[in-house]
Every structure is written in structure tokens, then in C-alpha cells.
């Protein structure tokens, strides 16, 4: 069973989590339809290391995790606060 380490609950089976998809830079409210369509629908879909939103379903807790999509490994996970401290922007 694959394990994801939740910053709140510790290591848990990955089936307890939902993936919220890659973190993308959110456009300004008035950025226009084309930019918003790109933000909502278009994906890098990278084969490699990705930074994503993850959610622990039973405790309703969102956090940030880094994974390698080629090898199915979770590299690290952190709270949103820790991620922002490292310069991350939602």
C-alpha cells in the first residue's frame, strides 16, 4: 500500500487522500476568458517532479505534496504555511 505523509495526521494509506491537482498560478479576476480557460483546463501533465494540492478526506485537511509522476513516489509533503514560507504562492 502506498503511503502519503500528511503534515497533520502523519503517514496514512494514500487511499485516504484526494489529489487536488498541480499548483498553478491563479490569474487575476479580470484576466479574461482565454487566460481563465487555460488556467482551468490546460495542463503541463509533466512526467517528472510535480507540486500538487492534496487533501486528507477524513480530517478535511488541505496541504501541499511533491511527487515524481514517473516512479509513483511521494518526495515530501508540507503544510500550506510551510509552502508559503518557502516562497509558494497560491
Amino acid at each position: 500500500m502506498k503511503i502519503m505523509t500528511c503534515p497533520l495526521n502523519g503517514p496514512r494509506p494514500i487511499t485516504e487522500f484526494a489529489c487536488g491537482g498541480p499548483i498553478k498560478e491563479r490569474p487575476a479576476d479580470d484576466a479574461g476568458g482565454a487566460r481563465w480557460a487555460e488556467y482551468v483546463f490546460i495542463e503541463d501533465n509533466a512526467a517528472g517532479i510535480v507540486l500538487e494540492w492534496w487533501y486528507h478526506v477524513p480530517t478535511a485537511f488541505w496541504f501541499v505534496a511533491e511527487r515524481d509522476t514517473r516512479t509513483d513516489t511521494v518526495i515530501r509533503s508540507m503544510t500550506v504555511a510551510a509552502w508559503k514560507e518557502r516562497g509558494g504562492r497560491p
Partner: protein
């Protein structure tokens, strides 16, 4: 039969069945069309380019071996009972092509129309099925909502008891639904294309493109560069990676889809059974094996690994539908990479790069579309304009907020 088998088995020098010509040692000075990918879609497009459009100076470039991708990893379900007018008309054309494909290609594709039942366990599912049945009938596709009595007659083996977690309330019955022998489809198209002069380069990976003023002029591979006027990309789970080489992005996320097959037993299931709510589907092959699959994995991944979770979730629900499978042994389990779009419809046609065409976003449902994808993409590549049947599937529909929402009909059951 027994004698010829014995003779074959005892023969000293076995001559392999070689219908697909070996990879040529070198490239031609230039090609009219280079097709990236060697799956069913790519090979079908090569076949129709040669047969319908007389374009034979074509190279198919596959990084592994023919049909090593999703083409021979799928559960081979064919149907056309989709939800949107665009989808229903497109898949119906494919069902028509399947009916004559064995004769057309001169290889037994073993297409078997055996009836397809999508089970409903909730009132909401019944409602979507009525909607689907009406859209289907409007376009002349056989499709009917049936109740438990009809289901019992069509599939007596199915557990219709109410002593389960999700009792069966009804089903969408689609008589033309069925299965086919998936690898034979790829070989048939490859044979037919090669007979007309199409070159097939296996073990040749595309690593980049030459693009001049927004127009593609060459395809870089691990064996050198091919000069070409046009490119067709048909690489399923690797769509985003190859498109990135050409400099554009897609509304696609690559997610593994897993399946498994049981030991062979005497036939007892002659329909294809799907449950969208339980995320399971099953059919029995001509060889007697049960082919089973479920929903896609829960997160994006390029690793074609198998998991225990897949088996656990699949069988916890499958055994409610078919308790008699409890004693069966599993033979094989595997995964393929599904190129999932947000609206569960494909992305086909033109791209931001001139003379560069795409056939992608086939996710978990593209096997049945192999013939019609080949046909429409060949026409698109030959004329430079999207074929009428694929206009709705254009890449720019997302920028226009004009999606073709097939989730209700495509999410499970392939």
C-alpha cells in the same frame, strides 16, 4: 486440426508469421506524412491515408513495438450509446466500420456483438440512462432502458437480489455493444498500410520536431531526423509529452487505468456488463477468460504499475454482481496510461503548429473508436481541414467554453 497442430509443434525450423515488414534500415529523403505512435489509431490513419487518399509516402514511428501501448492493454469494449450528439454520431460510425473490418483487413478481428448492459443502482443513474436512450434513438442507435425482468432474461448469471449494498434497479441495454480482438486490429491496419508502401519504424522514439515559422518540417528521432510535410500525433498516454516537444500544451492529464483477466472457464456470460456506479465492468472472451476493469487510478502518473488496491476495490463490488466468481483465479493484471480530458471527449484535429495534427484525449474509451479515428484523421491530414465528424472535438473548444460533456456515458465501462 490435431494432426496439423502436432506437425506444427514438431517442426524443426519454425517460420514466424511475418506480415508486418521489418523496420527499414534508413529513412527516405522525405515523407509526405510522419505518424508519431504505433498504436491502433496511428496505424488506422496510415491505412486510410493509403487506401482512401492515395498518400503512401508515409512513415509510422513507434518507440517500442506495434500495439504495445493501450491498443493491446484495453478491455476491448465496443459500443456507441454515448450521451452527446457529437459522441453518438462519431461512435456509431465506428460501430459500422467494425462490422466489416475483418473482411476489409483480411485478418480475423473477432468482432463479437453480444449486447451491452450498463447497470443502474440509483434513480439518478436511471434518469441519465433515459436521456442517453433518447439521444441514441434519435440518431438511430439501438438503446433501451430495461428493468430487472429483462435484465434477468438477458443475463441470468447476474445477481439481482436486493440483499446487496447496491441492488440493480435497471439498465441501459445496447444490443450492438460487444468486444473484439484488440491486437489483431493493429496488425490488420499495419499489414494493409504496409501493403500500400507505408513504412513502419519500430524501436524508434520521437525526441523533437523541426518547426520553421510555426510550421512543422521535420521529426527528430533516436535514429535520425525525418523530413516531412505533415505530422500526425497519436500517442495516447504520452500526448502531453509529445505535444510539449512541438511547443504546445493540452487539456489532458495522464492517469493509469488497470485491468485484469481470470483463468479460462466454460462460457457462461455472453453479454458485456458494466456498472458505472460501482466502477466495474466484465466480459468473457471467446477463450473463456473473464476480462475485468474498473475506474482510473486516483492521481496522475506515468508509471504502468499494478496495485493491490485496484484488485480489492474491483472485487468487493464485482462479487456482489457475480458471487460465483469468488473461486476464480486471476491470471494477469496490468495497466495502461489513459490520456484524460476534463469533458471525457477526445481532442482531435488541428493544433497551434501548422501541418501538425493531433488525435488524443482518448482516455479510457478510445479502443472502440480506432477505425473511425483512423478514417477521420486521415481525411483531416489529407485535406488540412477537420473532418465533419470531429469538428466538435477541436482543441480550441476549451478556450471557447464549448466542451462536449460525455462524463455521464464515458467515465466507466470504457
Amino acid at each position: 486440426m490435431v494432426l496439423s497442430l502436432l506437425r506444427y509443434g514438431l517442426r524443426r525450423r519454425h517460420v514466424p508469421w511475418r506480415v508486418i515488414p521489418p523496420t527499414p534500415d534508413r529513412f527516405k529523403p522525405s515523407y509526405d506524412v510522419v505518424i508519431v505512435g504505433g498504436g491502433g489509431h496511428a496505424l488506422a490513419a496510415a491505412y486510410y491515408l493509403a487506401h482512401r487518399h492515395d498518400i503512401t509516402n508515409v512513415a509510422v514511428v513507434e518507440r517500442g513495438w506495434l500495439a504495445g501501448g493501450n491498443t493491446a492493454r484495453n478491455t476491448a469494449i465496443i459500443r456507441s450509446n454515448y450521451l452527446t450528439p457529437e459522441g453518438v454520431q462519431f461512435y456509431d460510425q465506428s460501430v459500422r466500420l467494425w462490422r466489416t473490418i475483418s473482411n476489409d483487413l483480411g485478418i480475423n478481428v473477432m468482432v463479437s456483438e453480444r449486447g451491452h448492459l450498463t447497470l443502474a443502482h440509483t434513480d439518478a443513474a436511471i434518469r441519465t440512462m433515459r436521456w442517453r436512450a433518447e439521444v441514441n434513438k434519435h440518431y438511430g442507435v439501438a438503446s433501451e432502458v430495461v428493468g430487472p425482468a429483462e435484465i434477468a432474461a438477458l443475463c441470468p448469471e447476474l445477481n439481482l437480489s436486493h440483499e446487496v449494498r447496491y441492488p440493480v434497479l435497471g439498465a441501459l441495454y445496447h444490443p450492438p455493444g460487444g468486444i473484439a480482438r484488440h491486437d489483431a486490429v493493429a496488425w490488420g491496419y499495419a499489414m494493409g498500410a504496409a501493403a500500400r508502401g507505408v513504412e513502419i519504424h519500430q524501436m524508434t522514439e520521437v525526441t523533437g520536431f523541426d518547426i520553421d515559422h510555426g510550421r512543422v518540417t521535420g521529426v527528430r528521432t533516436t535514429r535520425g531526423t525525418m523530413r516531412t510535410g505533415r505530422v500526425l500525433q497519436a500517442v495516447a498516454g504520452n500526448s502531453s509529452r509529445v505535444a510539449a516537444l512541438a511547443g504546445f500544451r493540452l487539456p489532458i492529464r495522464t492517469v493509469p487505468l488497470q485491468a485484469c483477466v481470470s483463468e479460462p472457464v466454460k462460457p457462461f456470460l455472453d453479454t458485456v456488463i458494466v456498472s458505472g456506479s460501482l466502477h466495474v465492468y466484465i466480459s468473457q472472451t471467446a477463450r473463456g477468460e473473464f476480462v475485468m476493469g474498473g475506474a482510473t487510478d486516483p492521481y496522475a502518473l506515468y508509471a504502468q504499475r499494478s496495485t493491490l488496491e485496484f484488485k480489492e476495490t474491483l472485487f468487493s463490488d464485482m462479487l456482489e454482481l457475480f458471487p460465483q466468481l469468488a473461486h476464480m483465479k486471476m491470471l494477469r493484471q496490468w495497466a495502461g496510461l489513459a490520456d484524460m480530458t476534463p469533458d471525457f471527449s477526445p481532442v482531435m484535429g488541428l493544433t497551434p503548429v501548422e501541418n501538425y495534427f493531433i488525435d488524443s484525449g482518448w482516455g479510457t474509451w478510445g479502443f472502440k473508436a480506432t477505425p473511425v479515428c483512423g478514417l477521420t484523421m486521415a481525411a483531416t491530414v489529407a485535406t488540412g481541414k477537420p473532418h465533419a465528424l470531429i469538428e466538435g472535438f477541436a482543441l480550441d473548444r476549451f478556450a471557447r467554453f464549448d466542451q462536449i460533456g460525455e462524463r455521464g456515458a464515458a467515465s466507466v465501462g470504457s
